[in-house]
C-alpha cells in the first residue's frame, strides 16, 4: 500500500498556545483512518490543517510538514490543494441555492464540466453514489435548505464527489444526525473508500470501530496511539486509550 499523506513533526498553535504537539502520522491510500479523542484534543485542528482551512484564521500558526503524494501541501496553491482534499463539516452546510446548483457550483467554476448534459450526468452519478438520487430526483431545482439534515449531509458528500478529490476529510459528520441518517452516511463512506482516502474525526467511538481500517487516539494535542482498528479496540497498548474507548473518561 502507498502512503497517501505523510505528516512530519506537525505542531499547531492558537494564539501561541500549543493545540497539537509534534504529530507524526502516515495515512495509506484507500484506507479510512478515524481519529478519536475527547474535546480539545486537536482532532479538528489536524483535519483543518490538512486542507489548510485554518490558514484563514489569523490566530493560527503551525510548524512541521505535511506531504500529499510527496508534495509539501504548504507550498501548494490553496485552491488546487482543496480540490484534491475535500472536506465535510460537522454541520451540513448546503449553499443557499438549489440542490442541482449545489453540486455543479464548484465543478463549473473549476472547469470540470462545461455543457449541460455533462452536468446532468454528473449530478445523477454523484447523487446515486450517496444514495440520495431517489429521494430528490423530482425536486433538483428546489432549495437545498429545504431538505432534511441527513439529506443535506449526503448532498454535501455528493458535492465533494463532484470535484473528484483524492482525499476526503470528515469532521464529525454525524454528530447532528439520527441513527438512520448516520447509517446512510457511514454506508457511503465505506463505499467511497474504494476510490478515495478518508480521514474521519469522530466523537463516536463505536462509529470509528464500525467504519475505519485504522484508528488514532488523540489526547491533549498528542497522538497517544495509532493502530489497526481491530487491534486498537481489542488490545490497546496505552492505558489512556483503553480508558477512553471503554468509556471511563471523555
Amino acid at each position: 500500500m502507498v502512503n497517501k499523506i505523510k505528516v512530519k513533526n506537525l505542531s499547531c498553535y492558537y494564539n501561541k498556545q500549543c493545540v497539537l504537539n509534534s504529530l507524526n502520522i502516515n495515512i495509506l491510500q484507500h484506507e479510512i483512518l478515524s481519529i478519536i479523542g475527547p474535546a480539545n484534543s486537536g482532532k479538528t485542528t489536524f483535519l483543518r490543517t490538512l486542507n489548510r482551512m485554518n490558514d484563514l484564521n489569523v490566530n493560527y500558526s503551525r510548524k512541521g510538514e505535511i506531504y500529499l503524494d510527496n508534495n509539501n501541501i504548504f507550498f501548494m496553491n490553496m485552491e488546487s490543494l482543496r480540490k484534491r482534499i475535500g472536506m465535510l463539516f460537522e454541520m451540513p452546510i448546503p449553499l443557499p441555492m438549489s440542490i442541482y446548483d449545489n453540486i455543479v457550483y464548484a465543478p463549473k467554476l473549476l472547469n470540470i464540466v462545461s455543457n449541460k448534459s455533462d452536468q446532468d450526468a454528473m449530478v445523477e452519478k454523484v447523487l446515486k453514489n450517496v444514495s440520495l438520487w431517489n429521494e430528490v430526483k423530482d425536486r433538483l431545482n428546489s432549495s437545498a435548505m429545504k431538505i432534511s439534515g441527513g439529506q443535506q449531509q449526503r448532498l454535501c458528500i455528493a458535492r465533494i464527489l463532484a470535484i473528484n478529490p483524492e482525499v476526503i476529510l470528515f469532521d464529525e459528520p454525524c454528530s447532528g444526525l439520527d441513527p438512520i441518517s448516520t447509517a446512510k452516511v457511514e454506508e457511503s463512506m465505506i463505499r467511497l473508500k474504494q476510490k478515495y482516502t478518508i480521514v474521519l474525526v469522530t466523537n463516536n467511538v463505536k462509529q470509528a470501530s464500525r467504519v475505519s481500517d485504522k484508528t488514532a487516539f488523540f489526547l491533549m494535542g498528542k497522538l497517544i496511539e495509532i493502530n489497526e482498528t481491530g487491534k486498537l479496540f481489542i488490545s490497546p497498548q496505552k492505558k489512556q486509550t483503553g480508558d477512553y474507548i471503554t468509556g471511563r473518561f471523555g
Binding site: 482551512m53 485552491e79 452546510i93 443557499p96 467554476l109 432549495s143 465533494i160
Partner: protein, 285 residues
C-alpha cells in the same frame, strides 16, 4: 415610598411607553400633513413642477431645482456605490485583522459622524478651489460622494457580515477561489442588504444643503445645466432661499416645494422597502 400593586404599575408603565411612542410619531405626521395640506393646490397644478422660475422666482415653477436634485443624487450613486462596495468587500473579506485595518475601520465609523458643513468646506477647498472645478455639479457630486462613502462602507460591511461565515468555508473547501466565493456566494446574498442601506442613506443626502452650499448650488439659474461643470439649483436650498430671502412669495409655493422634496425622499425609501421585500421572499436560507 408608595408601594404600587403590580397590576397598577404594569398599567402605568404601559401608558408611559405608549405615550413615548405617540410623542415620537406625532411631530413627523404633523409635518407631513401640514406640508401636504398647504402645498397640495400648487403642487397638483403640475405647472409648478414643470416650469422654469420667472419674475424673481415669484412665478413659474421649480423644474430646474427638481432636475438638479435628481442629477446630483443619480451621479452620486453611480460614483460612490462601486467604490463604497469595493472598499467594504476589501475590509470585510480580504483585509487582515491588524492594527492598521482596525484603525481604518474605526475612522470610517467616525467619518460617518462628521457634520455635513465640514464636508462642504472640504469640498470647497479641494474640489472647487484646489482642483479648480468651480462651483459645479461635478464638485457637488464629489463632495456628496466623499460624505456618503463612510456610510455606504459601513452599511455594506454589515450586509456582508450578515452572510454566514459557514457559506464561505463551504465554498472554499470545494477548491473555489476567494474571489469566486465572494462573487457567487457572498455578494448575491448581501446585495439586498447593501442596496437597502445605500438607498436609505442616499435619500438622506437628497435633503442635504450644507455640503452643496459652496460646491454646487446656484441661487437662481435661468436654464437647465448643460454639462457637469454648470451650477444647479437644488430643492432644499431653493426651499431655504424662497422661505427667507424673497419677500412676498406665496406661502403655498414654499410648501409645494417642500412637498416635492418630501416626495423624492419618500419615493426612495419606498423603493428600498420594495427591494427588501422582494429579496427577502427569494432568500433561500
Amino acid at each position: 415610598m408608595i408601594k404600587l400593586s403590580p397590576r397598577l404599575s404594569q398599567k402605568i408603565s404601559y401608558l408611559l411607553l405608549f405615550l413615548a411612542t405617540v410623542l415620537a410619531i406625532v411631530p413627523g405626521l404633523l409635518i407631513i400633513s401640514i406640508i401636504i395640506a398647504k402645498g397640495k393646490d400648487v403642487f397638483f397644478a403640475w405647472d409648478f413642477l414643470t416650469l422654469m422660475p420667472i419674475n424673481g422666482m415669484l412665478d413659474g415653477g421649480i423644474f430646474p431645482a427638481i432636475i438638479g436634485t435628481l442629477l446630483l443624487i443619480i451621479i452620486t450613486i453611480f460614483l460612490s456605490l462601486p467604490i463604497g462596495i469595493g472598499a467594504a468587500i476589501y475590509l470585510n473579506e480580504y483585509a487582515k485583522d491588524n492594527l492598521l485595518t482596525r484603525m481604518i475601520k474605526l475612522s470610517i465609523v467616525n467619518l460617518a459622524g462628521v457634520p455635513s458643513i465640514v464636508y462642504g468646506l472640504f469640498g470647497l477647498g479641494i474640489f472647487v478651489m484646489y482642483l479648480k472645478l468651480g462651483v459645479s455639479i461635478i464638485a457637488g457630486v464629489l463632495t456628496l460622494s466623499v460624505m456618503e462613502l463612510p456610510v455606504i462602507i459601513t452599511t455594506s460591511r454589515s450586509a456582508l457580515k450578515s452572510v454566514p461565515y459557514l457559506f464561505r468555508e463551504a465554498s472554499l473547501s470545494l477548491g473555489v477561489s476567494r474571489w469566486d466565493t465572494i462573487k457567487y456566494i457572498v455578494l448575491p446574498n448581501a446585495i439586498p442588504g447593501i442596496l437597502t442601506g445605500v438607498i436609505l442613506s442616499i435619500a438622506r443626502i437628497a435633503g442635504e444643503t450644507a455640503p452643496l452650499l459652496f460646491t454646487a448650488v446656484a441661487f437662481y439659474t435661468p436654464y437647465l445645466p448643460h454639462s457637469i461643470y454648470d451650477q444647479v439649483m437644488i430643492l432644499p436650498y431653493h426651499l431655504y432661499i424662497t422661505a427667507t430671502q424673497i419677500p412676498n412669495i406665496g406661502k403655498d409655493r414654499i410648501f409645494a416645494t417642500a412637498f416635492m422634496l418630501l416626495m423624492i425622499v419618500l419615493t426612495m425609501n419606498f423603493i428600498a422597502i420594495i427591494i427588501r421585500i422582494y429579496f427577502r421572499k427569494n432568500r433561500k436560507w
